[in-house]
């Protein structure tokens, strides 16, 4: 009898119960009782998601007029209505444009690095290590994937360079490996593409390294130690991935076949994939490019317009019609953001929700798209980061207040030991709990 009661729920039972939905804490439900009790005591890990939208926002329909918790919802922000107590709308943050590169080229590429002109190392681009990659070093140690970089840029014409479509940079000029195809993301999460490493390969190169180590002088030994560390780290990742794969037998949703047809299906599938990765603790840091900068290819926003729209061209088009179209696109992206936040709020975890132990950010590298303004940026922030952050409604900053101050605040919250991030001045005290 006892045995029956302590048995964990089988995956199959759960699957039947929830269909294709991800919104269930099934990792926790899987745990045997004793472990579950222990899990309740230890806090869930911090998770971070960064969502990027291109070409700025229509300033007339994105900026609330009232500040504080009782802020108003202008047309583009209306989708936040159901979760207004969970979000902070930050306005008036600034980034310094670095001369010498295209006005759009560094919007996304340098959004999360926020590096000032004095820090450019990549042929004029301030693409230094971005916030998500800093966080991955802290939060990504115990997960099979240190971080996940996603993009819903399915344009196949290479109209623009990677600077227009990469927001995550490992270091100067070194973009993180972005997945655009949900199928590839799926394969990565389920360990079906192991890259190049396998255990037998690693065993041999490790033995080679040890044999070499013995014949080297001290300086060279130091250099080789780095190699050994990297092999060990890779071994650890493989072990973690194997464990995770053993844990996950059947995914709770159908295997994606490729890129879904409509915009919202594509975005939502990517979101479901990373939320699933969060829940399963496959990774704790994710970045998602909703669309690349500029890229003058018309894009179909299904259900919003009858014909394909060119977001970038719209930002430079005079007249109310174009402005209304941008508002519609902004609103569509805010709705996507709101749906991610709602889903995270619905996922129970420990004593709270996934949202409680996360920070979810959405923004663009410029504010006004027509003028390519790098000042007065808008950022949406949700999640309490395990109690470190608190939603404050609309918070606005007058004068020069670096966007890097927000990144510094989030970095410190995640445990990065630093008092400076790019050109930051001081943390944003207003958003701390």
């Amino acid at each position: 009898m006892n045995i029956l009661r302590t048995q964990a729920i089988s995956r199959r039972t759960l699957l039947r119960g929830v269909g294709a939905s991800v919104a269930l804490p099934w990792l926790e439900a899987m745990l045997p009782r004793q472990v579950k009790a222990a899990a309740a005591l230890s806090r869930p890990p911090l998770r971070a998601a960064f969502i990027y939208t291109p070409n700025g926002y229509n300033q007339q329909t994105f900026l609330p007029t009232k500040v504080g918790r009782a802020f108003d919802l202008p047309p583009a922000l209306e989708p936040l209505a159901g979760i207004r107590d969970e979000v902070t709308v930050l306005t008036g943050l600034d980034r310094t444009f670095v001369g010498g590169t295209g006005v759009h080229a560094q919007c996304g590429a340098c959004w999360m690095s926020s590096s000032p002109p004095s820090e450019t190392l990549d042929g004029g681009f301030p693409t230094n290590t971005t916030l998500d990659q800093h966080l991955a070093k802290i939060l990504g140690n115990d997960t099979p994937l240190p971080s996940l970089e996603l993009s819903c840029n399915d344009f196949t014409d290479n109209k623009e360079t990677r600077y227009y479509e990469c927001i995550s940079w490992v270091g100067p000029g070194y973009a993180a490996n972005v997945e655009k195809n949900p199928r590839a993301v799926f394969d990565r999460l389920f360990g079906r593409s192991n890259g190049g490493a396998s255990k037998s390969v690693l065993d041999v190169i490790m033995a080679d390294a040890r044999a070499m180590q013995a014949r080297l002088g001290k300086t060279d030994q130091h250099k080789l130690a780095e190699y050994l560390d990297s092999v060990r780290e890779t071994e650890k990742r493989i072990e973690l991935a194997e464990k995770a794969t053993a844990r996950l037998k059947a995914p709770p949703f159908p295997i994606p076949t490729g890129i879904p047809e409509t915009r919202s299906e594509y975005l939502n599938l990517m979101a479901d994939l990373f939320l699933f990765a969060f829940q399963q603790d496959l990774t704790r840091v994710v970045s998602l490019v909703v669309d690349p900068e500029r890229w003058d290819s018309p894009r179909m926003f299904h259900g919003l317009f009858d014909k394909p729209q060119n977001h970038h061209v719209l930002t430079h088009t005079k007249g109310q019609e174009a402005r209304d179209a941008i508002t519609k696109i902004d609103r569509f992206h805010v709705e996507f953001y709101a749906s991610v936040v709602r889903k995270m709020k619905a996922i129970r975890e420990g004593n709270g929700t996934l949202l409680d132990s996360s920070m979810v950010v959405m923004g663009s590298g410029i504010s006004d798209g027509d003028q390519h303004k790098y000042s007065n940026l808008e950022v949406l922030l949700a999640g309490r980061a395990g109690g470190a952050l608190a939603p404050r409604g609309h918070v606005t900053y007058a004068g020069d207040r670096p966007l890097a101050d927000l990144w510094l605040t989030l970095a410190k919250t995640a445990g990065v030991k630093t008092n400076r991030f790019a050109d930051s001045s001081k943390p944003l005290a207003e958003i701390l709990a």
């Binding site: 001369g99 010498g100 590169t101 990549d122 042929g123 004029g124 240190p146 490992v170 490996n177 890259g195 190049g196 490493a197 396998s198 037998s200 390969v201 065993d203 041999v204 190169i205 033995a207 080679d208 390294a209 044999a211 070499m212 014949r215 080297l216 002088g217 001290k218 300086t219 060279d220 250099k223 080789l224 780095e226 190699y227 560390d229 990297s230 092999v231 780290e233 890779t234 990742r237």
Partner: protein
């Protein structure tokens, strides 16, 4: 370089991608021999198969429709590729052995229905595309049409039978190879017109139809139709519907085709006459030969055995012999023995001579950026390289080998900072001549790079004086660079003898003409040498203006290897201050700065070379004015006044040791893979002295370097 875990993982997946690439067994003899199952039947020595009765055989060519000027492309129905792309792709494919073009070069040939035309392609011409017409086909020349290549075309033989269908298949091809891209030209014909539809049918039963009105008459009506199979499918039929085209015939020429191979063949099961134990023995033998070559030194049996365990684990997992061997190669590519040049300590002494294998590697990586060849390994085995004279002889041999090209690409690019050339982005509005082609997407970066590398390579290959680097009497140009430098008159003779036309409208042909480079004589030494070459001048400029300081610093570091110190005080040159109404040239703004006492000591050395180069704008063109003022290019160097770059370079060559020393230091540092220290300076002095006696010939410097103490010894701490 730092090897982070992420980099290692990326490296491993790249190694896997390289080793499992389907093209590797075709292109690498060594790899093919390594992975071939020893028990597999030897490949039958295939001569060309006997010609079937009535079958015609052609050899595929590389150029698709060379006569197709400003081509028209059939786009009704959705184009998959544009002409120049297809031309480029099919050319590459032909060179790599997976495609080609049938140019239908025959004056009068009738192919009967159902008989395949065989078009041989592939690296050895073994593979073939079979084109089987379902009605009689006529290969001929037509005086009422202009062929897109040569003088032959193909058409329907029976009058008015203008609907043609071809079956397309591959013969004697590689396992897993399939036909994925086809393009064909439909020709205009004098006094005839009408719509022509071409359809490609794919293996999944679907098809793609393109239509075009072929109305322009002979030549001008020529139209290009291109098709690509959906992913995973192949092209099986090509149908031409010329029923709406007037006249008796529908004319075609240049059938280009590209194949794809998604299977590396590594997992293909082969019949083997050997059992697992025998195969394992062969695997061990092959590894014992292969791994020492890869790791550039003899290996102990334990190391070889270790790699056999990789093989074993693959065989245990039911993998093929080929896949198991491939796995050992992936492993070896990630081994520290391959990635590093270890410098083992052999005793209590911190400095020791390099052994023969280490010297062989050091020499080969210095001059070829490649592993040592068999000759070097043989000499290492004979312990002959410890003799400096022998080592210098080998250096001489390597200098004469074609692989010496790598020295330009590896050393010169770094030395001259040309690795940063492509990050230089001159302002497109101010310097529009830097950009050309469709929507200004193409740039002069490539031409600039080639010019510099050719000068370096010329000095190496012709064993000239390194003073050419500073002040050469010639420079390499193509049409574009010739015009950029204003050398059109100087080059008139050469243009004629090379048959080049400077002002072609057709982008494609112009592109082809621009791949021809020649040596232009320079009477005026404003050009000549790296200092006044457009590439370095562009690398050291900002997008909108020149920077004498950047140019000066580049010169001190690159040419003299005496880099300036970092500024001791912070200073920012404010860009385009809006309140400023007086127009100052860049030079005047720098002088304002230099005249501050705290800045003077550095800038007195930094600025003069930069000022001399002020006659060049940010893209390296000669200019007379900067900010509406005449350019002022006078300055002083080593106490001697000069005006302009030619005079500056003449001053430099009057004291050749200054440049030669800097160059020798750079090259020695590259050769030994570390920074020079104070104790290396006597060696530099020796090399300098011997080079001076030999009139600064390049080979003498290289011989001096490889015979020097720092090259032949290592220090382990």
């Amino acid at each position: 370089m730092n090897l982070s875990p992420l980099l290692l993982q990326k490296y491993l997946s790249t190694a896997r991608a390289v080793v499992t690439n389907p093209k590797l067994p075709q292109q690498s003899e060594v790899f093919r021999q390594l992975i071939t199952d020893p028990g597999a039947p030897p490949p039958t020595a295939k001569g060309l198969p006997p010609e079937a009765a009535g079958q015609f055989t052609f050899a595929a060519v590389q150029d698709f429709a060379p006569n197709l000027d400003l081509p028209q492309q059939a786009t009704r129905g959705g184009a998959v590729t544009v002409t120049y792309q297809f031309r480029f792709n099919v050319n590459t494919a032909a060179q790599e052995g997976n495609g080609g073009v049938w140019n239908a070069e025959q004056r009068n040939l009738i192919v009967t229905a159902g008989t395949p035309v065989r078009i041989n392609y592939g690296l050895t011409g073994q593979k073939a595309l079979l084109l089987t017409p379902q009605a009689d086909l006529w290969v001929a020349g037509f005086s009422t049409a202009e062929e897109t290549s040569g003088e032959g075309l193909f058409t329907n033989h029976e009058k008015l039978a203008k609907s043609l269908k071809f079956q397309l298949s591959l013969a004697d091809c590689d396992p897993g190879e399939s036909l994925t891209e086809v393009a064909v030209c439909v020709l205009g014909r004098r006094a005839e017109k009408g719509e022509v539809a071409v359809t490609a049918r794919f293996s999944d039963g679907t098809g793609h139809t393109l239509t075009h009105n072929v109305d322009g008459g002979e030549g001008a009506g020529n139209t290009f139709f291109a098709f690509r199979a959906p992913e995973g499918e192949r092209i099986v039929f090509l149908e031409i519907d010329g029923s709406k085209f007037s006249g008796n015939y529908v004319l075609m020429d240049d059938l280009g085709f590209i194949t794809t191979n998604n299977s590396s063949g590594l997992t293909t099961q082969v019949k083997s006459s050997m059992n697992d134990r025998q195969k394992r023995q062969v695997a061990l033998q092959r590894l014992a030969e292969f791994l020492p070559r890869l790791f550039r030194q003899p290996l102990n049996p334990q190391t070889i055995e270790r790699y056999l365990t990789v093989y074993d684990s693959q065989i245990a997992a039911k993998q093929t012999f080929a896949a198991a061997m491939a796995e050992t190669v992936i492993t070896a590519l990630a081994s520290p023995e391959f990635l590093y040049f270890p410098s083992p300590s052999t005793g209590p002494e911190s400095v020791r001579p390099l052994d023969g294998f280490e010297l062989a590697s050091r020499l080969a990586y210095f001059l070829w950026a490649a592993p040592p060849d068999e000759n070097l390994i043989a000499l290492a085995n004979q312990e002959a390289l410890a003799n400096p004279a022998k080592l210098a002889n080998e250096a001489g041999r390597l200098l004469k080998d074609v692989r010496i090209r790598e020295l330009a690409e590896s050393f010169a690019v770094q030395w001259l900072r040309l690795d940063q050339l492509y990050t230089a982005k001159p302002d497109p509005k101010l310097f529009s001549s830097f950009y050309f082609g469709q929507a200004g997407k193409r740039t002069l970066h490539g031409a600039y790079l080639v010019e510099a590398l050719l000068l370096f390579h010329t000095v190496v290959v012709e064993d000239r004086s390194i003073m050419d680097f500073v002040n050469a009497s010639y420079t390499w140009v193509n049409l574009r660079l010739m015009k950029h430098y204003g050398l059109t008159e100087v080059c008139a003779e050469q243009l004629k003898s090379l048959g080049l036309q400077p002002n072609l409208q057709d982008d494609l042909k112009a592109e082809k003409m621009n791949s021809v480079w020649w040596r232009a004589p320079l009477a005026d030494r404003t050009r000549g040498g790296f200092i006044t070459m457009a590439g370095p001048l562009t690398v050291t400029a900002l997008p909108t203006r020149t920077s004498p300081v950047k140019r000066g610093a580049w010169l001190l570091e690159t040419i003299f290897n005496r880099p300036p110190q970092e500024p001791k005080i912070a200073f920012v040159l404010k860009e385009d201050e809006p309140q400023r109404t007086d127009l100052l040239s860049v030079r005047q703004r720098f002088e304002e700065h230099r005249n501050q006492p705290s800045c003077y000591s550095c800038h007195i050395r930094l600025d003069p070379p930069g000022f001399a180069l002020e006659v060049f704008d940010p893209i390296g063109s000669v200019r007379k004015q900067d900010h509406h003022q005449s350019v002022d290019a006078h300055a002083e160097w080593n106490g001697e006044p000069f005006e302009g770059p030619a005079a500056f370079k003449a001053l430099l060559t009057q004291h050749p040791q200054e440049f030669a020393r800097g160059f020798i230091e750079h090259l020695l540092s590259y050769a030994i893979g570390r920074k020079l220290e104070i104790y290396d300076l006597p060696a530099v002095d020796e090399i300098l002295a011997s080079a001076q006696q030999a009139n600064w010939r390049f080979s003498v410097i290289v011989r001096g370097i490889v015979q020097s103490y720092p090259f032949r010894y290592t220090r382990t701490l």
